[in-house]
């Protein structure tokens, strides 16, 4: 019997390296959107802590680390990246599988802020947008989630269907910045 074969959103597109900045696709494991039920905000936070050891992030923040991260994902949602959601969370929050909905990219290298400044209309300066900060915003015309992972590293989540455009835009910006940095 034939088997269904999984394909990643950026299959065949990545990785690329231009002028010292690398762009690659990352497998974050399970992606789960969680929206606490009305009046269950506190118990949800407790259940999350107990089940996954993760602190519920404030707006604009991500908690945890590579492999297990909880990312603020908008007005109503947080995104659990890594483990499958514990069953106990179901009684506290709406749980929606998003594992296949997002293309997850990691972009890093010297000058990465300059690359993103070509595409993203928010203030990503290190002193303002620190490690562990996250934002829902736009990359060119696409709605994305951006999280700073390090001094020169960001994680970008974009719609799976737009992965080709997402990669194209980032590559274009990377080549423009690289040409300038070349002097």
């Amino acid at each position: 019997m034939a088997e269904l074969i999984a394909k990643s959103p950026c299959d065949g597109l990545l990785p690329v390296e231009i002028g010292g900045v690398t762009l690659r696709e990352v497998d974050l494991g399970h992606l789960t959107a969680l929206a606490p039920h009305r009046g269950k905000e506190k118990s949800f936070a407790e259940a999350m802590k107990a089940a996954h050891g993760l602190t519920l992030p404030k707006p604009g923040r991500a908690t945890g680390k590579d492999g297990k991260r909880l990312i603020w994902f908008g007005r109503a949602h947080v995104l659990l990246a890594g483990p499958a959601p514990a069953a106990r969370l179901l009684s506290h929050a709406a749980v929606t599988d998003q594992s296949d909905a997002w293309a997850a990219l990691r972009i890093e290298g010297e000058g990465v802020e300059d690359v993103l400044a070509r595409l993203v209309p928010i203030d990503l300066r290190q002193q303002v947008f620190k490690r562990g900060h996250t934002a829902r915003t736009q990359l060119q015309h696409m709605n994305v989630s951006i999280t700073r992972l390090g001094d020169d590293a960001f994680m970008i989540l974009g719609f799976r269907s737009m992965a080709t455009t997402l990669v194209h835009e980032l590559e274009t910006a990377m080549s423009g910045v690289a040409a300038r940095r070349a002097g």
């Binding site: 949602h77 998003q98 909905a101 997002w102 400044a117 070509r118 080709t164 455009t165």
Partner: protein, 976 residues
């Protein structure tokens, strides 16, 4: 002519470029203008209307005369100011607005016709006959009056946009700007210093003035070096801040690669959106000309430009120089020239009390009243109380005083204030929130004042930002008084130019006033003064002074026209940077995209999505052949279609059912778990917004389907209803469109196909019509819905997107083995028309539930969005245009979408219109064209014959009105 020992250009880096095909020698650091002047080229362009010979007039971005075209072929760039284009080896430049050549221009005949071409000429002359305007007058005028021309080819250059953020934006890097940036930079604030020049320093690079005991240019270079070493300071040379916008947003154009021989992957330009908590405008001032007869001759320049060419570029722009001024500042031009060994014939000063000089003759109380030398100045005539006299001179350096560069302070409706002591407009404080002004832009014309104001404004900004200032000493610099006696135009016969670019003279402005265009805004539009690329930087103040005089008012009462962004021209390509080619809009690809393209399917755009139009089989040569086959395939065997583009929204919470009851016209709270229901959504004004199927997956869990087109708007609507109207409901939603790859499996053999594929057994008991349940496909968990948009026994199967490509290929292989295959949008459309199913072709925003025959879906048992307004008189009843089907019965068997309906024997004119067609297709099932249409009181007119007229395509058909459900009206195939 180069002057030895002068200038900041690199004499060790010679290079050459071409101007009108001629080779011109230059040095690195030159502009095209400085190199042309060094080479003795005085004639560089022709004026807009009269085709008058023109030379370089200034040395900055406000240049009105020296407009050139740079490059050739597709990438050629017209209307570049020669004064800002830096030279590089091999640069190709050409003059503009002349034919056949710059030296011999046939259209210079316009100059002889000047008495007829004054203000309002076009308005008066080409009024009549009206139809001549488009065919004759406009093309002729466009050819005669003009600037450079575009290549009319695709622009091959790259452009970029970028965003930047800072504590303090300093606009202009002259003494005030450098001092401001230094003060803020040393204090640790995040500073952006932007300057339109390639070399920062502003006037300091064009003067011999000293700062802190050394040449001003050296001081500037040292400050720039210190700023460049600071991590918290970003220097942006070649960057013009073009506009001030709301909440501290500034637009800026960076010329990234115009000066480079080898651009590599660099963008040509970058358009920046800079967000600054505070900004200081240190844009300096622009020297203004004086209007006198023939003041536009090549060889007449501003006095400061002559100094700049001498001190910065080491170029004497003439051999025998005369200065004409009404202020002390211009006397420095004569001093600098004499010191450099250039002959100064005289300084002609309009003031009786002008200062004397030991180095050159000063003729006081005198005015230049004419200039001769058509293609290059030969002599000037001046007038004193004693009469007129001539001076042989090839360069006249003119100064009518200085206008502070107030433009940015006016971009948010601010109006500048008249300062009579300097005879100029100065910024009105507070005109742009968060922006202050320092230095010459603020009317402070001495170097000392500029430095001092730059420092003071930076300290004030630091205080606002809560940053502690660090130690910065104010350098020593000259602090001379600025003495000026206003002189706008020299009386006399002949034409005296105000706006050089648009050929507007003193006479034109006076004539405008005489014809009662007394408001400065009216004068501007009547004469076109200030409407050229320099936007009146050289002419506005002079023109309004002349207007004030002509109307007997003062300058402050006359006022200025409005200054709007951009400060200097910005190419459309830079404004639109980032949206060239693939950047225009994101492309959304389904998981089956690659396989569909592999099957030869032409893809069509559906919003941002790409969907297959049809899947051509071997031997098929037209889309209709493929479409007909695919329709038959679905009706007789089984077809596969990717429906992942439909919006899918996951809705959860204990109030989910109540919430859906509120957004849909029908009831969902009573829907059993494991069932789906068709729902209709209204806007609050009672018209249909969207439709789709929602399924109940669990007690508190639904998944809603929207149309492809409305996926975004429906999500926004749900958020609105929840947050703004019923925030107390416990419900949340998130789009799962991207999560699931979903395929329609439609046709009599669909169940057989699925049963061979999924782990469960698909039967009418487990998946009855409108049933839904989890399913497992080769071990992968998915969802299976028994829903149909084709009218056949059909399913939609959904799996996580990562398996979409694989599942599509599998479904396709199975279907093909059973005599079926994939079907595209064309077949999908025909299938749904045969069934009378609506899409946004029908629910286009002006139809009600009643109109589409779904009035009974608006539940009377509950409130919902749009219900109250849908009950308004006029939104139902026999006057409404109602959804009907149309079948051709006459000799013409074709119906077209968008055609109009008329009674059988009525004239096909607007007043007789009875409705229109919305969707049409050829039904291979019924072997006829079928149409869906809206027809007045249509449901009562089944059986009537109507005339269907497509005026645009010239098609008239006779059709019979019928029920919109053409095929299987009882729905037995779908339910069975």
């Amino acid at each position: 002519m180069r002057v030895n020992g002068k200038g900041l250009v690199d004499r060790n880096s010679p290079l050459s470029f071409t101007f009108d095909g001629r080779r011109v020698e230059a040095f690195r650091g030159d502009t095209v203008a400085s190199a042309l002047l060094a080479a003795g080229e005085r004639l560089v362009g022709r004026s807009f209307k009269y085709h008058r010979p023109r030379g370089v007039m200034g040395a900055g971005s406000e240049e009105a005369n020296a407009l050139i075209t740079v490059g050739s072929g597709a990438a050629r760039d017209p209307n570049v100011r020669a004064t800002v284009q830096e030279v590089f080896h091999g640069l190709e430049t050409t003059s503009q607005n002349r034919w056949p050549s710059l030296d011999f221009d046939l259209l210079a005949v316009n100059d002889l016709a000047a008495p007829f071409l004054g203000a309002g000429f076009y308005y008066k002359t080409f009024m009549w006959p009206r139809k001549f305007w488009e065919r004759l007058y406009e093309p002729v005028i466009r050819r005669a009056a003009g600037l450079g021309a575009l290549s009319r080819e695709h622009n091959p250059d790259r452009y970029e946009k970028a965003f930047a953020f800072c504590d303090l934006l300093v606009i202009g890097a002259g003494p005030a700007g450098l001092m401001a940036a230094l003060t803020a930079g040393r204090a640790g604030a995040d500073v952006i210093l932007a300057d339109e020049d390639a070399v920062m320093g502003g006037r300091l690079n064009g003067e011999t003035l000293e700062v802190d005991g050394r040449p001003g240019a050296d001081w500037a270079a040292a400050v720039v070096a210190e700023l460049a070493s600071m991590d918290n300071v970003r220097l942006m040379p070649r960057t013009t801040v073009t506009g001030a916008y709301d909440q501290g947003t500034y637009g800026a154009l960076e010329r990234v690669a115009h000066h480079l021989e080898d651009r590599g992957d660099r963008p040509l330009e970058c358009f920046w959106r800079i967000v600054a908590k505070r900004a200081i405008l240190c844009a300096g001032a622009i020297e203004r000309p004086v209007a006198f007869r023939n003041n536009d001759r090549p060889g007449i320049m501003t006095a400061s430009a002559v100094r700049t060419y001498l001190n910065r570029y080491g170029v004497a722009a003439g051999r025998t120089v005369t200065v004409f001024a009404n202020n002390d500042d211009a006397h420095r031009t004569a001093s600098d020239l004499v010191a450099a060994g250039v002959h100064v014939a005289a300084v002609i000063d309009s003031r009786d009390d002008a200062p004397d000089s030991a180095d050159f003759p000063v003729i006081k109380g005198a005015q230049v009243c004419d200039a001769a030398g058509r293609k290059g100045l030969e002599n000037i005539t001046f007038r004193t109380a004693l009469g007129e006299d001539k001076i042989q001179t090839d360069l006249l350096a003119v100064s009518g005083g200085w206008n502070p560069t107030v433009h940015l302070t006016c971009h948010m409706s601010g109006r500048p204030t008249w300062d009579p002591t300097i005879a100029a407009f100065v910024p009105t404080p507070g005109s742009v929130p968060g922006l202050t002004v320092a230095g010459a832009a603020n009317g402070a014309f001495s170097t000392h004042e500029a430095l001092q104001q730059g420092m003071a404004e930076a300290k004030a900004a630091l205080s606002d930002l809560g940053v502690k200032p660090a130690g910065v000493d104010l350098p020593r610099a000259e602090d001379g008084e600025y003495e000026i006696s206003p002189l706008w135009s020299v009386p006399g016969k002949g034409r005296a130019w105000l706006d050089f670019q648009n050929d507007v003279t003193v006479k034109d402005v006076v004539q405008a006033a005489a014809e009662n265009f007394r408001s400065v805004e009216h004068m501007k539009r009547y004469t076109t003064q200030g409407m050229s690329p320099d936007q009146g930087k050289n002419s506005n103040i002079g023109a309004l002074a002349v207007l004030a005089d002509a109307t007997g008012r003062g300058i402050p009462e006359t006022g200025t026209t409005t200054y709007r962004p951009p400060f200097s021209p910005v190419s459309i390509a830079a404004m639109g940077a980032g949206v060239q080619g693939a950047g225009f809009a994101p492309q959304r690809f389904t998981t089956s995209h690659v396989a569909s393209v592999g099957h030869g399917a032409p893809m069509i755009e559906a919003g941002l999505w790409y969907r297959p139009s049809y899947f051509p089989a071997p031997g098929e040569t037209t889309w209709r052949q493929s479409c007909d086959r695919e329709v038959n395939m679905v009706r007789n065997t089984v077809g596969i279609c990717d429906v992942s583009t439909l919006g899918k929204i996951d809705i959860q919470g204990k109030d989910a059912g109540v919430f859906l009851d509120f957004v849909y016209t029908n009831t969902f709270s009573t829907l059993p778990v494991g069932k789906a229901r068709y729902g209709l959504m209204l806007r609050e004004d009672g018209f249909v917004m969207d439709d789709g199927t929602s399924a109940r997956l669990g007690e508190n869990h639904y998944v809603m389907t929207t149309t492809t087109a409305a996926a975004g708007p429906v999500m926004r609507h749900l958020d609105y209803v929840h947050q703004c109207l019923v925030p107390d409901l416990d419900v949340s939603f998130i789009s799962v469109t991207e999560q699931w790859a979903q395929f329609a499996v439609a046709g009599p053999k669909s169940r057989d196909l699925l049963n061979a594929l999924v782990d469960e057994t698909v039967e009418d008991t487990t998946w009855p019509f409108m049933g839904c349940a989890p399913v497992t496909v080769q071990g992968v968990k998915g969802r299976l819905f028994r829903i149909s948009f084709s009218g056949e026994h059909a399913y939609e199967i959904a799996v996580p997107s990562r398996y979409g490509d694989s599942l599509f290929r599998l479904l396709l292989a199975r279907a093909e083995a059973m005599g079926g295959g994939a079907y595209g949008m064309e077949a999908l459309n025909v299938l749904r028309i045969e069934k009378g199913f609506i899409t946004h072709a029908e629910i286009h925003g002006r139809v009600t539930a009643f109109d589409v025959g779904l009035g009974r879906m608006v539940s009377q048992k509950k409130d919902c969005i749009g219900k109250t307004m849908s009950e308004r008189p006029g939104l139902s009843g026999e006057d409404r245009e109602m959804l009907v089907g149309l079948k051709p019965v006459g000799p013409v068997k074709q119906i077209t979408a968008g055609a109009h309906l008329f009674e059988k024997d009525a004239d096909p004119v607007r007043v007789n219109e009875q409705g229109y067609t919305t969707s049409v297709g050829f039904s291979p099932t019924l072997e006829s064209y079928l149409g869906l249409a809206f027809l007045r009181n249509g449901r009562a007119r089944h059986g009537e014959e109507v005339k269907v007229v497509d005026h645009l395509r010239g098609i008239t058909a006779r059709c019979v009105v019928c029920d919109p459900v053409f095929f299987d009206p009882e729905g037995g195939r779908m339910r069975g």
